[in-house]
């Protein structure tokens, strides 16, 4: 009774009744791979909530202070106000360390969820028309999220974040022709930068990028809902319908459950598993460095690229056109993201398929696409692991230089090998009808004379 009154009240003033009605009946096709995007979205909410809390304590200032706080080993040391406030937040604010660690874990999970979600979209062909525009929106969010994460952990001004900024500045300087000016603009002069640099970084981290991401996320959701969700092939499922659980009540409750589960995991991690203990790294000064420094995982592929790159600049006379960090810091990620942005167009041109698709492919249904995706992924993974070669050296004693040459060879070989292997495997699977993760292909019954069509993996 009351519900109806409330709905009528709202509808007569906003006309939202039909929208609400539709939203409640909105159909979600069930598949476990659809959860990654949701996890990313929920993680973003947690990032905003925990970040708001952190912003109440953090001070974005490079003014030097002498530390007199709770952490004894640092007492008497000169450090920036930014770093001191982050250490204080960790030791002297009740629950401060918990929230900081949850925030950091959430950032790592956010990027991981987006990445896996992207792979799901790629390998199932969900980026095809009419969802190609939304795919670009999603990719852009990934780029922004990587930058947001980097800026975020740079804010703490501990030794590791300072080293990360030094490298970031070198990458900015390495942009051909305008690099010197670009670096000077962003940093307000030469590295380590003008006193107001941290204020800028902070503003970008807590305002500019989050608003961009949130806006794109809203667009992303609208563009998901407008053509409705994609679905895998299956009984009763076609291009023109969508079969699944309606939003209310089952899906809403399930999804809310996922939200709380995600939050629970993040808070458990934040409470139990230490991450980025900045008090151990100490404050940053340009003349300080530490061995074995590793960035957050989502930048591992970039440090790998910087390390793998052979030593050369493009120099004309005494004009340095392309300084070395450009290759690993700009060209390599540019290439990978360029590929991702262009892929829908490439595939459309190459297959001539301009139709809209609402049914998903299983990876095996399109062996070439799957093989290309796997090859690119193997390239990124190789470079990523190359970034951890120093760790392997310390842990297993494999000489660093040998590893480096091995990885250089792998960046060429792995994609080729992976491409052909994956394609062959996908073709075989498609023909046999077997499911790699289930017992056998014995389920498929081929009727004589009938053309064998791939059937749903769900039974």
């Amino acid at each position: 009774m009351t519900t109806r009154r409330v709905f009528r009240f709202l509808d007569s003033r906003t006309g939202g009744g039909s929208v609400l009605g539709k939203a409640l009946r909105y159909v979600f096709p069930d598949h476990w791979t659809f959860l990654f995007g949701e996890i990313a979205m929920y993680t973003f909410l947690i990032l905003v909530a925990t970040g708001t809390y952190l912003a109440l304590f953090y001070e974005p200032s490079t003014a030097q202070v002498v530390y007199h706080g709770a952490y004894a080993p640092l007492r008497g040391q000169e450090m920036s106000t930014a770093y001191a406030s982050a250490v204080d937040l960790s030791f002297e604010v009740q629950a401060g360390l918990l929230i900081r660690q949850v925030h950091h874990w959430a950032a790592d999970v956010f990027l991981a969820a987006i990445t896996v979600h992207l792979m799901r979209i790629f390998f199932t062909g969900a980026f095809r028309k009419p969802r190609d525009v939304n795919y670009y929106v999603g990719l852009t969010m990934l780029v922004l999220a990587v930058v947001e994460g980097y800026v975020g952990y740079s804010l703490l001004d501990d030794l590791l974040s300072g080293m990360g900024l030094a490298i970031g500045n070198a990458v900015a300087l390495s942009v051909p022709v305008i690099g010197g000016q670009l670096g000077s603009l962003i940093w307000g002069g030469r590295f380590p930068g003008a006193p107001n640099f941290f204020g800028r970084l902070f503003f970008v981290h807590v305002f500019v990028l989050p608003i961009l991401i949130a806006t794109l996320m809203a667009v992303h959701l609208v563009l998901i809902a407008t053509p409705r969700h994609t679905q895998f092939r299956g009984r009763g499922r076609g291009e023109r319908n969508v079969l699944g659980t309606p939003m209310w009540p089952a899906y809403a409750l399930r999804s809310l459950g996922l939200f709380f589960a995600t939050t629970a995991v993040l808070f458990a991690l934040g409470g139990l598993v230490q991450i980025n203990p900045i008090w151990q790294w100490g404050p940053y000064e340009p003349w300080l460095g530490t061995n074995g420094a590793q960035p957050d995982w989502y930048l591992g592929w970039l440090i790998g690229a910087l390390r793998l790159m052979p030593s050369f600049d493009v120099v004309i006379g005494n004009y340095t056109l392309v300084p070395n960090p450009f290759w690993g810091g700009v060209a390599f990620p540019g290439l990978i993201f360029g590929f991702l942005y262009l892929w829908p167009t490439i595939e459309r041109r190459w297959t001539g398929d301009r139709r809209a698709h609402n049914l998903l492919d299983r990876p095996r249904d399109n062996p070439t696409r799957t093989a290309v995706g796997a090859a690119v992924f193997s390239l990124v993974a190789t470079v990523f692991f190359a970034g951890a070669a120093d760790r392997a050296f310390v842990q297993f004693g494999v000489p660093y230089e040998d590893q480096l040459w091995g990885y250089r060879a792998l960046t060429v070989l792995a994609p080729i090998v992976v491409f052909f292997l994956t394609r062959a495997l996908a073709r075989r699977l498609r023909e046999s009808g077997a499911h790699p993760a289930r017992d056998s292909g014995a389920r498929l019954v081929e009727r004589p004379g009938a053309i064998s069509r791939p059937t749903s993996g769900r039974s």
Binding site: D11, T14, G15, G16, G17, S18, K22, M163, A166, I167, N169, A170, V171, L173, S174, P176, V177, G179, G180, Q181, G183, S184, L185, I186, W187, G188, G189, R190, F191, P192, A194, R200, E285, P286, W287, L288, G289, T290, N291, G292, I303, L306, R307, M309, P310, S311, F312, D313, V315, N318, Y319, T320, L321, P323, N324, P325, G329, D390, Y400, E401
Partner: protein
Amino acid sequence: MRNLWRWIVAGLVLRLSKKREVHREVDLPADPGAETWTAALLFAAALAGLAFVAIYAFDDADTQLLGLSIAAALALIAAALILAAVRVVPQETLEEERPRFADPYRDEENREDAVEGAALSFREGTDGVTRRRLLGAAGAAAGVGLGAAALAPLASLGPAVGDRLAASPWKAGVHLVDENDLPVKASDLEVGSFLTAFAKGADKGELATPLVVVRVKPEELELPAERADWAPEGILAFSKICTHAQCAISLFRYPLFAERSPGPALVCPCHYSTFDVLDGGERIFGPAVRPLPQLPLRIEAGELVAAGPLSGAVGASWSRVREEG
């Protein structure tokens, strides 16, 4: 009085209902003079926008002039738009039905119609305009001018490069000091050891200030001829900032068994660029390209003093990094 009011209302209703009969009343302007004026206003706006950029580029950009120029650009665009609205595009009266807050019926055909309709409405919006090209060019020019004016202030973020990226406190006679500003003595270093030093009186946070100072056996040195006297008693000083991506060089690899190991070298922990100490900082491994800048040293009363500037630019490479030194 009340009657009069009724008449007015009735008249209004009548007028409104009359309009309902006519779906679209269009009054084609065909006023080339107005079009020329619109274009002129837009071009003027472009000029005003560029004037803003020009004023901005002057060192002491005058606030009044800046404000005036950008305001002029915006006002000219506003004038052009208003003029276009009343004199250039068709004046029409159109009636639309209010949405009934219900799900509008949609199917493929309707959607095609909608697209066609939208395209048609868009085209009809400029019925009667004769100088489309001119107006288009003027609009683009105004866009460029205003865009330039909008982006120019980004340059305020940082200073022009100038010689900032090459600044260095090191020149002949500058003393080396440690973290506590105490002079660095030759006797502070043993063969195989290294320490961090700074320019006396300089800001330690400046990129070119910190040095890494190492000591090797003088007879091992293989310095180029022109640097023969840069390393008194086998003590060498290099910029501590890696020429690859500006991390601090924090490892000194000094071989204990010279026969079997590579020579003494400085290693950067970020991407493992390695610089040969004996021949004056040449790169022997890793992604760095330029050698580590070396500082010529001399010893005065047992203390280390710079005998000249650094041999090259400190920090990461950029387009003009090889023009200095």
